[in-house]
Amino acid sequence: MMTCKEFVDFLMAYLEDELPSSERTTFEGHLAECPPCKTYLDTYRQTVELGRSVCAHDDAAVPEDVPEVLVHAILAARKV
């Protein structure tokens, strides 16, 4: 038997395939019987995906201007 709290505790280890086989079986048993935990796992995965894709989107967006003071500081430091 595994509680929902234990399920959440072991979630990342499960997704990274780091659970020993007996604990994996227990985890998957809980997953099959507990719809809220199945939903929790799905939304946890989506959280990771959103973090990754939103930051990648942000990196690819039109960049902000570099402050002039920074441009000058970098070019001056290069000459030192």
């Binding site: 930051c55 989107h57 570099v66 070019l75």
Partner: protein, 199 residues
């Protein structure tokens, strides 16, 4: 190995020849993006500008060894992430901020206090919404520094556990625990906004 685009080839040639205009062009064309990466990691304008300056100076020194195996932007991205990490290491270490308030809550019997509900749209569709993108960026920015840094290094910069542990001078076990807690906290932040049935 893909050859660099023609404008990059010319820029690289100028950098290798010590052409001052080429250095300025590099700073102007890539500095903004690098500043935004540094700010995401450091959450402080002055520190971010310092990290970008350090990154460019490292890049200027190393440009002779840059073989063009990746795009200049990719190479500079890695350099500024490393410069931001150096900055984080040299900052006076702050006491670790608690994260418990942001973690899921459970009843005494181990059930969730608030059972999970499906989200209204899959991650790829949510990405199209500027409001959700802002929510995710603000959510990450709002995590305590230790957790934010680990989430960025592992989930965004794609460092593995050992590389992250080495970069932050902590154990691999601590990286795993904090990454999981950071993801749980970010999920809790996003959940009320993305639940199919709000309320």
């Amino acid at each position: 190995m893909e050859p660099p685009p023609p404008d990059e080839t010319k820029l690289l040639e100028g950098l290798r020849n010590g052409d001052a205009d080429a250095f300025e062009a590099l700073v102007r064309s890539h500095g903004g993006r690098m500043l935004s990466v540094a700010k995401r990691m450091l959450r402080n304008e002055d520190d971010a500008q310092d990290a970008v300056q350090d990154a460019f100076l490292s890049a200027f020194r190393a440009v002779g060894r840059f073989e063009g195996g990746s795009r200049l932007a990719t190479w500079l991205h890695r350099i500024v992430v490393n410069a931001a990490l150096m900055k984080l290491r040299t900052r006076r270490r702050k006491p670790e901020e608690p994260l418990d308030e942001l973690l899921p809550h459970f009843l005494e019997n181990g059930h969730m206090e608030r059972p999970a509900q499906p989200w209204s749209q899959p991650a790829d569709r949510a990405l199209e919404s500027q409001e959700i993108r802002r929510l995710v960026l603000d959510g990450i920015a709002g995590l305590p520094e230790t957790y934010r840094t680990i989430l960025l290094l592992r989930d965004v910069e794609d460092l593995d556990t050992d590389e992250t542990a080495k970069a932050l001078e902590i154990s691999p076990g601590a990286v795993k625990t904090r990454l999981h807690r950071a993801r749980l906290a970010l999920r809790e932040i996003l959940d009320p906004h993305l639940r199919a049935e709000r309320g």
